[in-house]
Assembly symmetry: C2
Homo-oligomer: 336 residues x 2
């Protein structure tokens, strides 16, 4: 399988490392031999139709801060150039999420599909703004679109709801889908002010470069859009979400919740309406997890309420989800 990799940040580099360390195992157990034939970062590109040398790629990035120096040829190509000029099977989109126009991810994904490439996106922007249209585009071009890493990081929440509960009807769900705000609210519950809790989260590297994505609930809302489309088969995008962030959660709110044996959590819920908002959750509810953990509770028609808890993000976890998607695409292709 030949991959084009868009972006070479934390996730891209983790993927390269994981493909390197697991290459023998992936081939022995699944017959999977993924090769990255093209990659670009903000400064340049690297191309090798036989597959890039991943150790060299990682070392070049480490040394020069860009993979442009991997080779002196074809080192100035854009994502679209790579899609147009390379023979490849799968595009892996890992550039940063943006909820204004979802670029450059949106163009990468749509161009790739038009050129017959399957797509794995861990970039939430394009899915949040245009999930229904992207799904249609994939079907029209007879390619697969996968995005396990967008919700729950390494925890396979999307697959669980879709496949493990096969034949069961999910009637509603609610979850803590953003680890950063959960970390801040947990600190506030332990007595810190919002400002101190935010600074602590920033120091630990948990907060997005644009803090609004976390604090105003945009990240949680994007995940809610993806879940609602994939699990509940609703055709919705970002504007359909009623969204309130955590900036106005006060120490009093936290204290009042504690009196009722509750904690304040930023909850994304799908139950008739799609809402992201701070809410009081009982300390006895399995959903009420602390720190940077994510959790989601699915309520099904016949199997009760089921909660999945896991780490939300992290480079290696997300890279692991990309490999799951690759295996899934391989299995789906082999059915044809």
């Amino acid at each position: 399988m030949r991959l084009i990799l868009c972006g070479f940040g934390v996730v891209g580099q983790s993927l390269a490392k994981l493909l390197e360390s697991r290459s023998e195992d992936l081939y022995a157990r699944f017959g999977l031999k993924p090769r990255i034939v093209g990659v670009f970062d903000t400064k340049g590109s690297a191309v090798e139709s036989a597959g890039l040398d991943l150790s060299k790629l990682i070392n070049v990035k480490k040394k020069y801060g860009t993979i442009k120096k991997y080779s002196s040829s074809k080192n100035n190509l854009s994502g679209v150039d790579l899609i147009k000029s390379l023979d490849a099977d799968v595009l892996v989109e890992t550039t940063a999420s943006n909820y204004k126009d979802a670029e450059p991810g949106m163009t990468h994904i749509t161009e790739a599909m038009k050129h017959g490439l399957h797509v794995i996106s861990v970039n939430k922007g394009p899915l949040a703004l245009a999930f229904p249209s992207l799904m249609e585009l994939a079907i029209y071009n007879q390619v697969l679109l996968r995005f396990s890493g967008t919700v729950g990081g390494g925890t396979p929440i999307l697959d669980y709801a879709k496949n493990s509960l096969l034949g069961e009807r999910i009637v509603s769900f609610e979850g803590i889908l953003n680890g950063t705000t959960n970390y801040i609210l947990t600190n506030m519950t332990n007595g810190m002010s919002f400002k101190d809790a935010l600074n602590d989260a920033k120091q630990k590297g948990y907060v997005e470069a644009d803090e609004s994505l976390d604090l105003d609930g945009l990240d949680a809302a994007a995940k809610l859009v993806i879940l609602a489309n994939w699990v509940m088969e609703l055709k919705v995008t970002m504007p359909d979400i009623k969204r309130t962030g955590i900036r106005n959660v006060s120490a009093d709110d936290i204290k009042n919740a504690a009196k009722k044996n509750c904690a304040v959590k930023l909850i994304a819920s799908c139950n008739k309406e799609l809402i992201v908002s701070p809410r009081e959750i009982s300390l006895d509810d399995p959903l009420c997890v602390n720190g940077t953990l994510n959790a989601i509770s699915f309520t099904s028609e016949h199997s009760g309420t089921q909660t999945i808890i896991g780490r939300g993000a992290g480079g290696i976890e997300t890279a692991s989800s990309i490999i799951r998607d690759l295996l899934d695409i391989r299995q789906e292709i082999s059915k044809i």
Copy 2:
């Protein structure tokens, strides 16, 4: 699909109700049309090669306490008689678990496989005593053996670990796999004595007819055997489990745990050794759930620790897991 149903207790009746209420939906969404062609309970049998009338079956059971009065013909057949005399595709085994010789379930399952029937077992006995041999027998006879309902009831724990984490390595797991002992320990944590907590659980109908299955950890150990075989591919049976029940958990043990911000839980764990034993679990651990809830944490190589929490048992939840297994068998058959 033609089913032979062994046993018509809570799970068998829930399955009949669910097949009745969901028949249109199962056919429309999955093309699945399951018919029960034979069923027996402790007093007699009912047979109809075109498929039994499920409403009538449930009403007869309600009125007479047995399905023997469904018809005056073929109402004295045993499970083995049904397997030998009926054309059927799948055997659904729902008789009570027993960990001495696993009968009569063991004979039903092995006879069915020898006659080319796929098997769905929610009876843990045969799997706990002979998982590796039953798997071999299934492969030898080219039939499928499924058992989603044995662990976690309606919560698809087995499928999650095997399929949702495809390509990921689970390195260890630990869980609260028995809701009854969790209920008793939760009550003890709230100040009740062991005796009172046990009586309360009995009154609520949570305790098995043979209380030893819950209290001495046999039920949890059986589930641990199934998980270890299915998820970790270990070839183990009941005697391989180091097992301690909850009879000796004292009020002091509970108090000492509370001082360390912990609760005492009956934990089944697979980490080098296979152990069922009461252990102190931090209240902050997602695994530390209360009441009759079950929970299991899988630790994976690259995706961190993931916890699934759900109701452990219940007729309708288990019936729902049988339908999942039916759909899975249908999908697997269609691949051939």
